[in-house]
């Protein structure tokens, strides 16, 4: 039990990093990356709450949920990246107007 | 006998992996780091794969280990080549339009 519980703070910290990244980073791509980090944190929490049984194999339901989540996350990321590319194409900017006032990032 | 051989192979593999990592950390420039990494790591992986091959539970498993090693070898060699190439192009400022063209004087393929 204690071996698994390391992953609860780790997952929470990943969620924190992701949140900070999504709130503070100005570049859209960085926000997408932070979104993925946050998702990974959530997945980690999900699996850490279902520690492996005696045979060492993790909960199949949690595994299936996470696999579904990974695939959805890549779809959302790809959509975001495409929109960011289109936005860059049209405006020449890599960050949204409300973030642009703050600074130039890349 | 088999056991001693396994220990020996694993020890050698560990040595090569550590050498590769050490090289990656300590060598002064990128190209020599590529050199350290691609050579030492592939050898380490090969030795480890050989050690595990001795104890594979079936022929299929043995074949898979062999395939993984070959694939890792190809991947490492190719990426080493690609990365080194980019690195050279960038440091010498060679126009990138020559990228992919055979070097001057190379025999036509």
């Amino acid at each position: 039990m204690s071996g698994v519980s390391i992953w609860l703070p780790t997952g929470s910290a990943l969620v924190l990093f992701g949140l900070l990244g999504m709130l503070l980073a100005s570049s859209i791509l960085r926000k997408l990356l932070a979104f993925n980090v946050m998702g990974s944190g959530i997945f980690l929490l999900l699996l850490a709450l279902r520690p492996p049984g005696p045979d060492g194999v993790a909960d199949p339901v949690a595994q299936a949920l996470i696999i579904t989540g990974i695939v959805i996350a890549i779809a959302a990321t790809a959509l975001g990246v495409r929109l960011a590319r289109r936005y860059f194409e049209l405006s020449g900017h890599t960050e949204l107007p409300e973030d642009r006032a703050a600074t130039r990032d890349d | 006998m088999l056991e001693a051989l396994t220990w020996l192979l694993l020890a050698l593999a560990a040595l090569f992996f550590s050498a590769g990592t050490l090289g990656l950390l300590r060598l002064p420039d990128t190209l020599s780091r590529i050199h350290a990494l691609t050579k030492a790591d592939n050898l380490g992986l090969g030795l480890a794969a050989l050690a595990l091959l001795l104890h594979a539970e079936s022929w299929a498993a043995a074949a898979q280990i062999g395939l993984i090693w070959l694939l890792a070898l190809a991947a490492s060699a190719t990426s080493g080549y690609l990365i080194a190439r980019r690195c050279l192009l960038e440091s010498h400022g060679t126009p990138a339009s020559t990228l992919g063209a055979p070097p001057p004087g190379a025999p036509p393929t």
Binding site: - | F17, L24, Q64, A72, L89, S97
Partner: protein
């Protein structure tokens, strides 16, 4: 597992621990850079050490699926390097 010689699990465990240590040290280079190239190189180290680690664990724990993960590691490691090299080429030309 029962066919393994008695001291083999110990050897494999030691080897796995050493690989994890290597991995952690290699991460220093990923973090320190300095350039993009060095980081990618270190990520490649992560890939090949990961392959070795997965193969070792597959034998140690008797999970054949871990070898499949190693296979995917080996394949996808190439993709990252190729993407890097090709796209940087693009960038240079522009």
């Amino acid at each position: 597992m029962e066919t393994l010689p008695p001291t083999l699990p110990l050897a494999l465990t030691l080897f796995a621990l050493l690989l994890v240590l290597n991995l952690a040290l290699g991460l220093l280079r990923v973090l320190r850079g300095p350039g993009l190239t060095d980081r990618l190189l270190a990520a490649q180290l992560l890939g090949s050490t990961g392959v070795a680690l997965l193969l070792t664990l597959a034998a140690l724990q008797g999970w054949p699926s871990l070898r499949d993960v190693a296979l995917v590691f080996a394949l996808l490691g190439l993709l990252a390097a190729v993407a890097y090299a090709r796209l940087r080429a693009e960038q240079h030309r522009a």
